[in-house]
């Protein structure tokens, strides 16, 4: 954490040292050698630790992974939302890059202005725009479409946790069908959200931008490869990162990665890459899971898990059909050895046991 008041910061560091017996990292050192395994890896730390995200926050993890391969010559426009709130409670900030938050629905437009300024000044600094699914699928959708159409050199990253988590888990157009939220609660008359999750990536693809992709926090190598690829493109690029929210999805904090992985493995969250409007690449699934394996881990789908409730069975069947459609539409079923497929990623396999415990 960086505080604007240096005296306070030094005092705080001393306090942490006293409390944890560990030398906290000086925030100015961008490529530091610290004590933990993570600290020893020479990665750019654009989003510092010590921010106020919940335990197991998928979005915080995703943002850190994005910043590691994006920085340091970047500037970020961040929409209102959890990411903004937990990283910048005045007078502190967790950002080690220039960062601006304006409003909920305008991060794509603010980023457009930043990019125009860089162009006007002949600078190559890449502009990133961040938003949650509310700020991207819903209220900021128009600004995003405008940004893509005007062909700004910006990487827009949507951290998709499938509801308005910052305001307390209200449904968005990204909330999956049948998920229970505070504005689409399950009850005697309703089985959660009545509508489908918006197929944003197809809409983005229809702008025929150079590159758009989906990724998941469960597959950090894949996510970071996509960020690096997008960073190298001169023009608008878009990345939607599936980021579980333990609070909103109602799962334990330690299974975030496993939940995210199962979303991919069951086909409900297809991980694909789109170039100039055409699907260029998909992450194949070798062992397709039933959707119940994914949904069953989350309280937001708890009302679907009663086999004696015909409504629950019907919705579960519906969700399975949606997943099957994704698998056939994107041709996700993988055959044989493929280092890029869902089973080939070893980096996060350690978490699997935890998820199944």
């Amino acid at each position: 954490m960086t505080t604007t008041d240096n005296t306070k910061r030094v005092a705080r560091l001393a306090e942490l040292r006293e409390k944890f017996g560990r030398h906290p990292v000086e925030p100015q050192e961008k490529h530091y050698q610290g004590g933990s395994q993570r600290d020893r890896q020479p990665r750019f730390c654009g989003l510092e630790s010590g921010h106020r995200a919940c335990q197991g926050c998928g979005e915080a993890l995703a943002a850190r992974l994005v910043m590691e391969c994006a920085g340091p010559d970047v500037m970020v426009a961040n929409a209102t939302g959890c990411l903004e709130v937990f990283t910048t409670p005045w007078p502190q900030t967790a950002w080690q890059v220039p960062w601006i938050h304006s409003l909920f629905e305008n991060s794509a437009a603010v980023a457009s202005g930043m990019e125009a300024a860089m162009k006007a000044k002949g600078k190559n600094t890449k502009i990133l725009a961040f938003g949650g699914d509310g700020g991207t699928y819903d209220i900021g959708f128009q600004a995003l479409s405008g940004m893509l159409e005007r062909y700004h050199n910006i990487l827009y990253v949507c951290y998709d946790n499938e509801a308005y988590m910052n305001t307390g888990i209200q449904r968005s157009s990204s909330t999956p069908h049948a998920a229970s939220t505070t504005t689409s609660p399950a009850g005697a008359e309703r089985m959660g959200k009545r509508h489908l999750k918006k197929d944003l990536l197809s809409i983005i693809a229809a702008h025929h931008i150079p590159y758009s992709a989906s990724a998941s926090v469960a597959y950090p190598a894949d996510l970071q490869r996509k960020v690096r690829y997008a960073m190298g493109i001169e023009g608008p690029t878009f990345l939607v990162v599936h980021s579980p929210c333990p609070l909103g999805w109602k799962h334990d904090s330690h299974v975030t990665i496993e939940v995210a992985r199962r979303a991919v493995e069951c086909g409900l969250f297809p991980v694909v890459e789109v170039e100039r409007g055409a699907v260029a690449n998909v992450m194949p699934i070798r062992e397709v899971r039933p959707v119940a394996d994914y949904l069953g881990m989350q309280g937001r789908f708890g009302h679907l898990m009663d086999p004696n409730d015909p409504r629950a069975v019907e919705e579960l069947t519906h969700l399975q059909a949606l997943a099957d459609y994704n698998i056939s539409h994107y041709n996700l079923r993988g055959e044989g050895e493929d280092p890029a497929d869902t089973a080939g990623i070893t980096l996060v396999a350690r978490d699997r046991a935890a998820g199944e415990s």
Partner: protein, 389 residues
């Protein structure tokens, strides 16, 4: 050089003289000719700027916010519904204390739909924390536009240059446009100390809790207040170089010993001046208010000293209260010894033509002891059903 120019064309030329790095705008009547002319200057290679043709006014304001925050001189323009669509961003720009310039081609706000001039749009965002300057004619609009870039960077505040839609934007008149060299000499390059910069990372737009928020608001209020001398100083510096001024915060004309005054903002002042010149009877003072935000309370108290009556002309109303400018003048003069009696009228709402003969009607209305404290002066109540009169 003196030229016969349409107001909008002159504004586009004035903006171009200031070498903006980024211009973003969305078309709306009556602002359109400004952005059309800017686009033309870009297309002809006479203006080298990043012109961002956005998909809404909301994004226009957001783009200039992002651009200025990144250290670019930025400009936008809008009117009416566009200003209201921008409203959320306008508060944000001011709250973050980002210096930039916006022209408001003043127009009524819907419903009912009306594309003509009054001040409802800029009044609707008067509490956003922007500096708001009003222009009487296109020469003042040109000069104020160029001055606004300097005021913005000297105060770290955004500046709204208000000019009456159609009445100024679509009027051709003789305007003296400075040369590029003159403006470059007078206007320093854009500097924004808090600009985003990867070599010195800063976070702008943090979440501010109740522990700090009142202090932030206090400092914003103080900053807008402190802009008063800056506006005067910049106009004085302009006058020194260009041998004409825009009237600083406000100007007072007319006989020293006049007992009646008329106060107005914008192009209405010109018509009132002509009306007063042709009016028989004891003269009246004409007070032209240029700075609406910050509100020049001291200058106003000095300007009205000695008056028995002050007619305050509003070009917008706050339904349920009355005139907005009128109520601000009243509150400013409250407690002042021998303060004049205020007669507050809205005229020319939604572009109703203001004839010079209105001056006689206004002056005779103050003789009526039963006159209401506020009226929509030129409304023909006979057009309304009896229950609405």
């Amino acid at each position: 050089m003196r030229e016969a120019l349409e107001g909008s064309q002159a504004i586009a030329r004035a903006v171009a003289l200031c070498d903006p790095d980024v211009v973003a705008a969305y078309p709306i009547t009556p602002q359109t000719h400004i952005v059309e002319n800017l686009s033309k200057l870009v297309a002809e290679g006479d203006l080298h700027t990043e012109f961002v043709s956005v998909e809404s006014e909301f994004s226009a304001a957001s783009v200039v916010l992002g651009a200025a925050a990144s250290g670019a001189r930025a400009y936008t323009a809008s009117s009416s519904q566009g200003v209201l669509l921008m409203a959320e961003v306008l508060f944000n720009i001011a709250g973050m204390r980002i210096p930039l310039t916006m022209t408001v081609a003043n127009r009524a706000v819907s419903a009912p739909l009306n594309i003509w001039n009054d001040h409802a749009d800029s009044m609707a965002v008067r509490d956003s924390g922007w500096i708001q300057l009003h222009c009487e004619n296109n020469q003042e609009a040109v000069d104020t536009t160029i001055q606004s870039f300097k005021i913005a960077q000297d105060t770290d505040l955004p500046v709204m240059v208000c000019m009456d839609g159609f009445v100024l934007t679509h009027t051709m008149e003789v305007i003296d446009i400075p040369t590029h060299a003159q403006v470059r000499k007078w206007l320093p390059p854009f500097v924004f100390k808090r600009a985003l910069d990867p070599s010195d990372p800063k976070s702008l737009g943090a979440l501010v809790s109740p522990d700090f928020f009142p202090e932030v608001r206090h400092s914003h209020h103080a900053a807008v207040d402190k802009a008063l001398p800056v506006i005067e100083k910049v106009d004085a510096s302009w006058a020194k170089t260009f041998k004409r001024d825009c009237g600083g915060l406000l100007t007072v004309e007319g006989p020293e010993d006049a007992k009646v005054g008329i106060l107005a903002m914008g192009s209405t002042v010109g018509t009132l001046r002509t009306g007063l010149e042709h009016h028989d009877g004891p003269g009246a003072k004409l007070i032209k208010l240029r700075a609406f935000r910050p509100f020049p309370a001291d200058a106003l108290r000095a300007a009205v000293a000695g008056l028995d009556s002050l007619i305050v002309i509003d070009r917008a109303i706050s339904p349920g209260l009355g005139g907005i400018l009128g109520s601000e003048v009243k509150s400013t003069l409250y407690g002042m010894p021998n303060a004049p009696r205020i007669h507050n009228h809205a005229i020319g709402l939604g572009g109703r033509d203001i004839p010079e003969s209105i001056v006689g009607d206004l002056l005779s209305s103050i003789e009526d002891p039963d006159a209401p404290a506020f009226s929509v002066f030129d409304a023909d109540l006979s057009m309304l059903p009896p229950e609405d009169r």
